[in-house]
């Protein structure tokens, strides 16, 4: 019974949290994408809530049951990780398999009734260590305050380590691109010099034989 109470409590807190988060406006059917560049094995939690513009009151309706959100997550290789229609309010979480840029796209499932009207989207994206709910962890693992703090520190250090190894990979890719550009410039200029000399020689030969044929020299 106590557990049930706590879970309702938590969901209540979460719901209130989303309502106070950052928000922006989109038109009905408009597609909005966000990019998260994350290392592998990192959890991302997306909380959102959609409100529909109400022309009668001039405000936004707190709950709009008719509206659904289509959420699509793509990994760095452009493969779909997640693509589903959710209700007007929800929480999505996914864990990355490949490091790189993950694209999170949201758009409403437009119905002709509402088309053209505005939507207000509350959005909260938490990545890695920020996504961990420490109240839950403390409760589940029965940790003391200090243990919990140490757990948080550990999580942070893990996050930094992961990020750093990813950074090394990216640096490697960056260096490869630079070196390849360097190589290409070098070889291309050498080849171009060759082409120029070759063409010059050919021009001379060709003109010489031409003039001789015309008996100009």
């Amino acid at each position: 019974m106590m557990l049930f109470n706590l879970s309702t409590l938590l969901s209540l807190v979460l719901a209130l949290d989303v309502a106070s988060a950052l928000y922006f406006h989109i038109a009905e059917g408009e597609r909005k994408c966000f990019i998260e560049e994350i290392p592998d094995d990192t959890t991302v939690i997306v909380n959102y809530k959609v409100e529909l513009y109400d022309p009668r009151s001039g405000g936004f309706m707190p709950s709009s049951p008719g509206i659904g959100m289509h959420v699509e997550v793509r990994d760095p290789n452009d493969r779909v990780v997640l693509s589903r229609v959710y209700s007007s309010e929800g929480m999505i979480s996914f864990t990355s398999n490949n490091p790189g840029e993950h694209v999170i796209c949201m758009y409403s499932n437009s119905t002709s009734w509402f088309s053209g009207s505005q939507l207000r989207v509350h959005l909260d994206i938490q990545v890695g260590e920020h996504a961990v709910d420490y109240a839950n962890v403390a409760q589940k693992d029965k940790l003391t305050e200090l243990q919990l703090r140490i757990r948080q520190l550990l999580d942070q250090v893990h996050q930094i380590t992961k990020e750093q190894s990813y950074q090394r990979r990216r640096e490697e890719r960056f260096r490869q691109t630079s070196e390849s550009t360097h190589q290409r410039v070098l070889w291309w200029s050498l080849m171009q010099t060759g082409v120029l000399v070759g063409i010059g020689y050919w021009q001379m030969r060709h003109l010489k034989s031409f003039f001789e044929a015309k008996k100009l020299v």
Binding site: L6, F24, V127, H130, L153, S178
Partner: protein, 210 residues
């Protein structure tokens, strides 16, 4: 028995309202577009905005923060990256706008981080009355130091992304330029021959008439 959890929930949500909300977003800004984000901020809460343009054009963007009474808190034009800290004078909706209206063809990738209020304490740690032990204090210090490291890492990650994207761009351009140039050289070589031949040919052409 049933009322206490609800009381606690209300209490926590109240605390939640005061304590930190931190959002990091990277979004696309199409050409000549404006993107606005809104955030409710309580009076006397400190907030900070950090942004950086990752790709596109000259890596610049117009940024504006507007308060609830339409007063302008921060305004910069054609900035590549910056951060700004302010304390909310009034409770209300604050508006952060990124504008690419001056650019007609380059679309951009913008990173933004908005932090509101102090960091949310761990459950149970914020409300304890006794003096912290040395271990707890140093744990706290390590925590804030690690937070700083993460912030710096983010900054470097973005700079690296910026550099990498530019290098990839350069690579592609060098590629196309070289191809074009080779084509041009070959064309010019043949054209030269044709024109010179025309000068000396017996048939009167437009070149010999000139």
């Amino acid at each position: 028995m049933y009322t206490t959890p609800f009381l606690v929930a209300i209490l926590i949500s109240l605390i939640n309202g005061i304590f930190s909300k931190s959002v990091e977003l990277t979004f696309e800004l199409p050409d000549s577009a404006m993107e606005c984000f809104y955030q409710d901020i309580e009076q006397n809460t400190s907030a900070s905005l950090e942004y950086q343009v990752i790709t596109g054009g000259q890596y610049d963007v117009d940024v504006k923060i507007e308060g609830p009474n339409k007063q302008i808190i921060y305004q910069q034009q054609k900035m590549q990256y910056d951060s700004h800290q302010f304390t909310a004078q009034h409770t209300g909706v604050y508006k952060v706008c990124f504008s690419n209206e001056f650019s007609t063809f380059s679309h951009k990738l913008v990173y933004m981080e908005l932090n509101v209020g102090p960091e949310e304490p761990l459950p149970g740690i914020g409300d304890h009355a006794t003096v912290m032990t040395q271990l707890e204090t140093s744990a706290e210090e390590i925590h804030s130091a690690l937070n700083k490291i993460i912030d710096h890492q983010t900054h470097h990650r973005l700079r690296e992304a910026q550099g990498r994207k530019r290098a990839e761009d350069l690579n592609e351009r060098v590629n196309y330029w070289s191809m074009g140039e080779t084509l041009a050289i070959v064309c010019v070589a043949f054209a030269q021959i044709m024109i010179l031949k025309n000068f000396f040919s017996d048939r009167p052409t437009q070149y010999t008439k000139m």
